[in-house]
């Protein structure tokens, strides 16, 4: 009844290609996270401090990023912009889509982080003669970073995993590359099984680096 014969050799032969694609995955996810952290921080501060159109813009971004499927967000930057004559490369589509998505989630993490810092910390800083900017840079944001550190790690893992959607807009990251080889050899199970292991290893490495970094960063 179960007569499937496993063929691992073609997969192992293409392992270097898969590893290279894994690096592409890691690269696009990391870049999206860096951009997402900067934008997410800005969105959170806008939502907490400003009124008017900018705040409306920031809130809409967060709502859309969090409440629509990540796949649709990728499609927007691919086929959506394409319909208006703006054709991005697959790499740019995935980077834009992931950044949009991560910035939205991170903005909410940052907002929670800022709200967890008591107002009195700012008062104490200001009472020492610090400007508002100094108080935020030296006192508030370092504490917020500690609060959002593990949520950011989670988001990084999430970015790696949802970058796999890139294969649906023709991006040859880890999943795209796997799909490419799998469809050529019909060894679909074998290829995706190996790729799953690769994803697992990438995520484990991220978690390990994150933990080591935390020990170095947060001594209090």
């Amino acid at each position: 009844m179960f007569e499937y014969n496993f063929h691992w050799r073609p997969v192992l032969k293409n392992l270097p290609d898969l590893l290279e694609a894994g690096l592409v995955t890691l690269e696009v996810a990391s870049l999206a996270m860096v951009l997402g952290i900067v934008i997410g921080l800005a969105l959170a501060l806008i939502r907490l401090k400003l009124r008017g159109p900018l705040r409306w813009f920031a809130s809409s971004w967060v709502e859309l990023a969090r409440n629509t499927p990540a796949l649709f967000q990728l499609f927007f930057f691919g086929f959506g912009l394409g319909a208006f004559g703006l054709h991005l490369t697959p790499y740019a589509i995935v980077l834009a889509g992931l950044t949009f998505n991560c910035a939205g989630y991170l903005a909410e993490n940052f907002r929670g982080g800022f709200q967890a810092i008591p107002e009195t910390q700012i008062r104490a800083a200001r009472s020492l003669g610090m400007t508002s900017a100094q108080a935020y840079l030296r006192i508030v944001i370092p504490q917020v970073i500690r609060i959002v550190y593990y949520p950011i790690t989670n988001q990084m893992v999430w970015a790696v995993l949802i970058s796999s959607l890139g294969m649906l807009v023709g991006f040859r990251e880890l999943s795209g590359e796997t799909q490419f080889f799998a469809s050529r050899t019909y060894r679909i199970f074998e290829y995706f099984a190996v790729t799953a292991v690769l994803y697992y290893v990438i995520v484990k490495i991220i978690l390990l680096v994150s933990r080591l970094l935390a020990i170095k960063l947060f001594r209090y």
Partner: protein, 240 residues
């Protein structure tokens, strides 16, 4: 000198200060006592410009705190403040807590800021804790850290907002001793406090606040021994 005239302050509909007139001379120690909600702490926040005011004026050495063209960040260097919830910065070591503002506000070179911080930490008896983080200190130590942090700006005035109210009873003494030390050194201080012993022994004058007004002000002898106002007597009788 701190000169407060006809000061009104409200939070929304709530009138907190209703016409305060007060002068504090250089070198004077003034204790402010009164029930919760009588406006004592709010007065301190107004003096260093952390709260806007509705009417009247506060002048520190002739500079009007709430005037539009006043550089508050500069003025605040003269006015050290210690809070009820000590507000140490948890992500910085004890030394960094104290050295940060001298470095980035007074713009001292790193070495000098460190020296100033060390000196003030010795001053409050925390010289052996400089590498610790505030989380590892007791409440009393954290409050002394907050005092050292304010002193490192070399202020001319110190404002204490119920500096001992949030402390465990056995830790109150060490903080009061530090405040006493400052008073003996000639620091000008305004202390909002519930510590009647401290108010009586250390201050030059005591002001009793009642519902946003100064009900009575005078030397401790008068306030604690021979109060003229019935309300003052009643308040003190409840406390003792």
């Amino acid at each position: 000198m701190i000169e407060i005239s006809d000061l009104y302050k409200s939070f929304g509909d709530l009138q907190v200060l209703k016409g305060i007139n007060l002068q504090v001379e250089k070198g004077e120690v003034l204790s402010v006592i009164g029930a919760s909600g009588s406006g004592k702490s709010t007065l301190l926040y107004c003096i260093n410009g952390l709260e806007p005011i509705q009417k009247g004026s506060i002048k520190v050495d002739g500079v009007e705190v709430h005037a539009k063209d006043t550089d508050l960040n500069k003025l605040r260097q003269k006015l050290g403040m210690v809070f009820q919830q000590w507000n140490s910065f948890p992500h910085l070591t004890v030394l960094e807590n104290v050295a940060l503002a001298p470095r980035i506000v007074r713009k001292l070179p790193k070495r000098d800021a460190r020296d100033v911080a060390l000196k003030q930490l010795e001053h409050v008896g925390l010289g052996d804790k400089i590498e610790s983080y505030p989380g590892a200190l007791s409440g009393g130590q954290q409050q002394r850290l907050a005092i050292a942090r304010a002193l490192a700006m070399e202020p001319e005035y110190m404002l204490f907002d119920e500096a001992t109210s949030a402390l465990d009873p056995e830790l109150v003494g060490e903080v009061l001793d530090t405040m006493r030390l400052l008073a003996e050194e000639g620091m000008t201080m305004i202390c909002v406090t519930h510590e009647m012993g401290f108010a009586r022994d250390v201050s030059d004058r005591v002001a009793f606040f009642h519902e946003g007004l100064i009900e009575e002000i005078g030397p401790p002898k008068q306030i604690f021994g021979d109060a003229r106002s019935e309300r003052t007597k009643k308040f003190l009788s409840k406390i003792r």
